[in-house]
Subunit: 208 residues, 2 copies
């Protein structure tokens, strides 16, 4: 047996968690900085100066300002999806799951993205520039929606004639007015009535 | 009989048409000026200077810059509605009328508001600030939509259980992603497929 081991020495074992801590520290500081000066107007140099790190040190953890923005975005979108998933768990029937899924998503999006100008700013960049974090969120939403529709088809609550992908795509198109922060922005005055009316229409479209 | 007549003298009879001509001249010049410099950034003083009129003379015809913007907006929205109405006339069944109504509106909106940055700029102000021209357009759209739904209920194409106003409101909510220039802007890459999918969903929701 060789004493030279390919596994990292104990000290280096700290690297992962330590890196994780610094990443979190940068994200938290960036969040505070963006919220004062806006995401669009801040450069990595501004950020480094504000945090007290060197620009080079920040680049060790994040490739770009967008990568930091994405980390903030992922945190938010995870909360939005968690609210949608909680809605699915709470609903007894497929119809109720669908309704609560969207209610959870819309309410949490409105709360996160519009109570805090900062987060809207980042979410708008994310949606406009189709960041991977935004695309992953859409994919996950579509997957959850598909599960609900399939369940409703199984239980006989929903029609089965229309191809499932067409149904899911169309529902997401309808709900994007209230899910996409760039569009939700124009609908804030009409919450929660407008999305409820839209979901009612969607449920009528699913009737067998 | 008195020779003093309260009706305007023949020369003044020209006032209406003459005023109309000057108004048109201001609107045309404003359109050209806005298209170069943007609606938001232009003041009535800039406009007066560019057209070669005094500011006071422009104010004889329009109360404000917004009133000029509205005149341009009304022209555009009339074209959009005309395309929708042509769609209604072309469709044989209520379903076809509904489909062609929205296709006409969406295609003409995309053409008018996005081939020309100027018109988008004004349309965005109009939608964001809820100008009377935008509200009148929405009311007219809703009235046309209601006629189609009532027809479809009469012919037995559409369900009759849901209150008609709820149906119309919900359909307009769904279609706003493609009708409201502020939202259509984010959907241009997905024309004409996305609105077609949305209309298909709407038609499924109307099934008896």
């Amino acid at each position: 047996m060789s004493t030279i081991d390919s596994s990292p020495p104990p000290a280096a074992g700290q690297r992962g968690p330590l890196e994780h801590d610094v990443r979190d520290q940068i994200v938290t500081a960036a969040e505070a900085h963006f919220s004062r000066f806006g995401y669009g107007k801040t450069t990595v140099a501004d950020l480094a100066k504000a945090i007290g790190f060197s620009k080079a040190y920040i680049y060790k953890f994040f490739d770009s300002k967008q990568a930091i923005g994405q980390a903030i975005c992922v945190q938010c979108l995870d909360k939005v999806l968690a609210a949608g998933e909680a809605g699915i768990a709470d609903g007894r029937t497929a119809s109720e799951k669908l309704r609560r899924f969207f209610n959870g998503i819309v309410a949490t999006s409105a709360e996160l993205f519009f109570q805090d100008k900062l987060l809207y700013d980042i979410a708008a960049h994310s949606a406009e520039e189709r960041w991977p974090s935004a695309l992953a969120y859409l994919e996950r939403s579509e997957a959850l929606l598909k599960e609900i529709i399939l369940l409703g088809r199984e239980t006989g609550e929903f029609e089965r004639k229309t191809p499932i992908d067409e149904v899911c795509e169309a529902i997401l198109l309808v709900m994007q007015s209230f899910m996409n922060p760039l569009m939700l922005r124009h609908n804030l005055d009409d919450l929660p009535d407008a999305p409820t009316k839209a979901i009612n229409l969607v449920l009528r479209s699913l009737a067998p």
